[in-house]
């Protein structure tokens, strides 16, 4: 959702990258728009705050960092291609996370069942 909004705003608004990212979703509403510091620094600070709020892996953070490091640095077509590429990469990460949730949830269910059965045996 954030990437789609960013992509549309980038194509049609022409505002600077600080404002575009800031206005493209609640996720980045803490990003500084007053300027003064390089965008890459502002981006890094913002995603650092994600550590305490979201269950993201180190690979997710790496990907987010790489994505932000190239934002604003090329022409519109370059930026749109960059967003498209990372849309695919983030989707892949999401699929992997979903697969992990499914496989781990089965494991946890089985372990729970066994733990319950074991507890029942011990109590009986």
């Amino acid at each position: 959702m954030f990437l789609s909004t960013l992509s549309t705003s980038l194509r049609y608004q022409g505002a600077d990258i600080f404002r575009l990212v800031h206005s493209s979703g609640e996720l980045f509403s803490t990003l500084s728009i007053t300027g003064g510091e390089p965008f890459e620094e502002a981006w890094k600070k913002t995603i650092c705050n994600f550590r305490s709020r979201y269950a993201l892996t180190s690979q997710d953070f790496e990907l987010l960092g790489e994505f932000g490091s190239q934002l604003g640095k090329t022409d519109t077509e370059g930026q749109l291609s960059h967003i498209e590429l990372y849309q695919a990469l983030f989707s892949k990460q999401l699929s992997l996370a979903e697969e992990e949730v499914i496989s781990k949830s089965k494991l946890y269910q089985t372990m729970g069942l066994f733990a319950g059965v074991s507890a029942a045996i011990v109590l009986v």
Partner: protein, 314 residues
């Protein structure tokens, strides 16, 4: 407290990458009134142009007027970082300006850039591998065109202000826009194709252009026609008539009874009349007043004025 916080030189230099800004900062007081340009060229000494004199920054942070010695060279990374700062880290948003070769900064300053052109159908769509940046420090000389304004305000016909590069054509034109729209109470449409006159940043003119209607970034000939249709101007002001399309738009402006004030690159009448695409316009009398400026050494000063071919007192 930084006493140079709001000064023009500091405002322009603030887009330099931090290492270069720090080297230049101690010299802001001495350079404030005379610095015209800060030049960065990849692997070449960083220089500050002050009229006829050029200063170089040494690695120890002092100024030198010699182009050799222990001078601070602009690294590729310095140029890249400065370029990103010039674009406010949003290169895509300044694409049109980059293709035109310069970016307008807050305060009306201009960063000229050059590197390797990326072409598409013979037109420049981008500049990559930037090798030089020329930061031109904009100075508003309010009142520099008062004498000229008094001489031409009651005359009819168009006005062409001519001079060599850096002779102050844009500065004079900007002041004329302010004077015609305020003192003269005329409806003035200001065609600012390259953002040099009003220097609009995020919709706000950075220079005082009085009560003009500003057409920022419009192609000149298109803007002249649109101004005629939409803003009912009495005066249209634009810089640098540089193409046959501009000339035909100028004829339309004149045929609608609107006064055109423009500039052209030419040091003398001879040089001006040698420019083929302008000849028709000049011979037709559309631009009845020709103003020639002195040159870069005395920017903004008028050398000669011709009205219908007759020389007036400057």
């Amino acid at each position: 407290m930084n006493t140079y916080e709001n000064k023009r030189l500091n405002q322009a230099a603030s887009c330099l990458c931090p290492p270069l800004y720090r080297l230049l900062f101690p010299h802001f007081a001495s350079l404030e009134d005379k610095a015209q340009e800060i030049r960065l060229r990849v692997n070449r000494p960083v220089s500050v142009a002050c009229g006829a004199k050029t200063y170089f920054i040494t690695n120890s942070g002092s100024l030198s007027d010699l182009s050799c010695g222990d001078l601070c060279l602009a690294k590729r990374s310095d140029i890249e970082a400065t370029f990103q700062r010039i674009c406010n880290y949003s290169v895509y948003a300044r694409q049109r300006e980059i293709s035109n070769g310069f970016v307008t900064l807050s305060g009306g300053h201009r960063a000229g850039i050059c590197g390797t052109a990326v072409l598409n159908d013979k037109s420049i769509v981008n500049i990559r591998d930037i090798t030089s940046i020329n930061l031109r420090i904009a100075r508003e000389h309010r009142g520099c065109a008062v004498d000229l304004y008094r001489q031409i305000k009651h005359k009819s016909g168009g006005v062409l202000i001519c001079g060599e590069p850096c002779s102050g054509k844009t500065t004079v034109l900007r002041d004329l826009a302010r004077l015609f729209s305020t003192d003269g109470s005329a409806a003035v449409s200001l065609i600012d194709e390259r953002g040099e006159l009003a220097a609009t940043v995020s919709g706000v003119p950075q220079n005082d252009v009085g009560l003009c209607d500003v057409f920022d970034g419009y192609p000149k000939s298109f803007a002249m026609e649109q101004a005629l249709r939409t803003m009912s101007p009495q005066v249209i002001i634009c810089d640098e008539l540089g193409s046959p399309g501009d000339v035909s738009a100028a004829f339309k402006v004149q045929s609608c009874g609107v006064r055109l004030i423009a500039t052209a690159h030419a040091r003398s009448r001879k040089e001006l009349f040698e420019r083929a695409f302008l000849q028709k316009l000049l011979n037709s009398g559309v631009l009845s007043t020709l103003v020639f400026l002195r040159g870069r050494e005395r920017a903004g000063e008028i050398n000669e004025i011709f009205l219908n071919g007759e020389r007036l007192a400057a």
